[in-house]
């Protein structure tokens, strides 16, 4: 069954998935115009709040993690060699 490459292994299809993903992203933001959101807080009524907050929040968490890693990262044999 390995003779035929999986459709996910073809770069063309991966590119298609990416395009599809970007279209869906755009649609979720655009749909905000149609759906009343009932914000609980002022900041939620900023357009596309969940989208940019999610993106920036994740970016911030990655930056924090990488910064912490500068201090706390060690080789994985730090506590002695594993026996697996």
């Amino acid at each position: 069954m390995d003779d035929k490459p999986h459709w996910l292994d073809q770069p063309r299809n991966v590119k298609r998935l990416w395009h599809g993903f970007l279209v869906v992203l755009a649609l979720t933001v655009a749909a905000e115009a149609l759906v009343p959101l009932h914000p609980h807080f002022e900041i939620e009524s900023v357009f596309g709040f969940s989208a940019w907050f999610g993106f920036l929040g994740c970016a911030a968490m990655i930056v924090v993690a990488k910064t912490l890693a500068l201090v706390l990262k060690r080789p994985d044999s730090y506590y002695g060699k594993r026996d697996d």
Partner: protein
């Protein structure tokens, strides 16, 4: 309805002692059927005290039912059944019985009406879980089990001190809501929090759980932390401290999971993260928040077990655990990939999965309470869950680069366990009413509004975008990240080694001086009392005669004076 109510937890524990003697089909059937029978027994427990007896001048209630107890006992029994099915092929004869003792004790805690019973089952849980860890049989798991037991015995001691203090002060053993108004209650809270994986000792969890066998971690993920969530809901609802502890755990879990390379350690950190959501909910303390915490514990046990089942399948079939050595497994493990991905979507609270209907109640409670900062942090953390568990886990294990590994799917029992739990993840997400009916308070919450679905999709999909955009920063390396376990794995041993050296020299000096003093003493004794010494000499008669002469002369002199 009979008057005799069996204790579901004790039935499971006693059954566990029989399982090691069974073989073949009988063993397989009983491993799955026993927890299901226990599940049926859980539903026989009536509201209010079912067992009461006198113990040390106190009325203890080893068995007591209400909605909250039943919810947790139900999911613990369900989990024991699913975990048992998954572990049918486990070679170790100890693991499943130990896991059943562990699960039975967790059910015992959930159905306990007094603090003495809570403590007894609490400690039995530590024993059962340590045996699960130990039964893996490797040197690493043995060491990890020792560290794990050390932390849990510490937690147990704190809890015992707290319970004793509480009983002395109040004269009451009933397990009810407590306020942080005495050292005893603080000790109880700390004892509970140790098991919840709260800071500063949270490192015990990611240190220990990934060292269990491919099936052991599935059991371990379910009971200890969620029992802690249960006792916190019952004992300390609305304690503000818990809100901040929970928020810390949420972000701690995300940050460490992002840096982790071991697939099951990623999921272990994400347990801390998810329990953080529950504890934050308990800290908010409204009915909505407590319902959310309880519901999230229920759904979390299922999807976390599912995630760890998929990771366990990968570990069993490939013998590898590091993300840097995995990838491309979707080619030959499509079912495991799909089930793992469903678990990943559920943990991320994707619409139509169980996480969506449970976690959102905690966020909703924060919004209802106008806690803007808390709400913003919880929302950012929800995005972070998708980042560290929702995408990172399936991406690095099943997709990313092709590792060239072409393992087969795991055996049928493991596949069925995964399918069953994946089904539950979707079913509860699509039809939440049965779960909501089990919650401790009446549910006035509608998860599926257009606004909620849309904002959640935005949040998660853009988190996904952030993951792929920043993928170069998330590449796995052969590293670990130091955590608090460094304190007892490196610092304490090196301090002891450091203190050993001066101690050794003091000991040597003391030994030498004592030796010298002793030899001097002996030499002196020999001089005084030894052969030919003055005191050992035999005194001749002439000496006597001379002394008598001296005495008589003296007498004569005195007589004439």
């Amino acid at each position: 309805m009979t008057d005799i109510v069996l204790h579901p937890g004790l039935v499971l524990i006693c059954g566990a002692l029989v399982v090691p003697w069974l073989r073949g089909t009988l063993r397989a059937v009983s491993i799955v059927a026993l927890p299901l029978a226990v599940l049926a027994l859980v539903w026989q427990v009536p509201d209010g005290p079912a067992w009461q007896t006198r113990f040390l001048d106190y009325t203890v209630t080893p068995l007591q039912g209400d909605k909250l107890s039943r919810l947790f006992a139900t999911i613990f029994a369900l989990m024991a059944a699913g975990g048992g099915l998954f572990a049918l092929g486990q070679k170790s004869r100890v693991e499943v019985p130990a896991a059943f003792v562990y699960a039975g004790s967790a059910i015992g805690v959930a159905l306990a009406g007094d603090l003495i019973t809570v403590f007894a089952f609490w400690e039995l849980m530590a024993v059962g879980s340590t045996l699960v860890l130990w039964s893996n049989g490797s040197e690493d798991s043995y060491r990890a089990a020792r560290r794990y037991l050390m932390i849990h015995l510490l937690g147990g001691v704190l809890l015992f001190a707290g319970v004793t203090g509480h009983i002395v002060q109040t004269g009451d053993v009933a397990f009810t809501r407590m306020a942080l108004d005495s050292p005893a209650h603080w000790l109880i809270l700390i004892g509970f929090l140790v098991n919840a994986g709260a800071p500063p000792l949270s490192a015990w969890l990611p240190d220990a759980y990934p060292e269990a066998s491919w099936s052991g971690t599935v059991f371990l993920s379910a009971f200890t932390t969620k029992t802690a969530v249960y006792v916190l809901i019952r004992g300390f609802p609305g304690t503000e401290l818990l809100l901040w502890v929970g928020l810390f755990m949420v972000f701690y879990g995300i940050v460490y999971a992002l840096l982790e390379n071991d697939m099951r350690r990623i999921l272990a950190y994400s347990i801390v993260n998810q329990v953080g959501f529950m504890i934050a909910g308990i800290g908010i303390g409204t009915e909505m928040a407590l319902n959310g915490a309880a519901a999230h514990a229920f759904t979390h046990i299922i999807y976390k077990a599912l995630l760890l089942m998929s990771a366990g399948s990968v570990l069993m079939m490939t013998g590898r655990r590091k993300c840097s050595e995995l990838g491309g497994l979707f080619h030959t493990m499509p079912l495991t990939t799909i089930c793992g991905t469903i678990g990943a979507l559920a943990i991320s609270s994707f619409p139509l999965t169980s996480g969506f209907v449970s976690k959102s109640m905690v966020s909703q409670a924060a919004a209802d309470g106008h806690l803007q900062t808390v709400w913003l942090l919880l929302t950012a953390a929800s995005a972070g869950v998708f980042l560290h568990a929702g995408i990172k886990f399936p991406w690095f294990v099943f997709f990313q680069k092709d590792s060239g590994l072409r393992p087969a799917e795991p055996p049928a029992s493991m596949r069925w366990a995964m399918v069953a739990f994946a089904f539950l993840c979707i079913a509860l997400g699509v039809w939440a009413d049965p779960l909501y009916a089990l919650l401790p308070y009446a549910v006035k919450y509608q998860p599926y509004t257009w606004a909620h679905v849309l904002t959640q999709l935005q949040l998660l999909l853009f988190s996904g975008l952030a993951f792929f955009v920043m993928l170069p920063y998330l590449k796995r390396t052969l590293t670990i990240t130091l955590d608090a376990d460094w304190l007892w794995r490196k610092l304490a041993p090196s301090l002891i080694a450091g203190a050993q050296r001066p101690l050794d020299s003091v000991k040597a000096w003391l030994g030498a001086s004592l030796h010298r003093f002793g030899s001097d003493l002996i030499a002196m004794a020999v001089r005084r009392y030894g052969e030919d010494s003055r005191l050992a000499r035999t005194w001749p008669t002439r000496t006597m005669a001379m002394w008598v002469l001296v005495l008589l002369l003296g007498y004569l002199v005195l007589y004439y004076v």
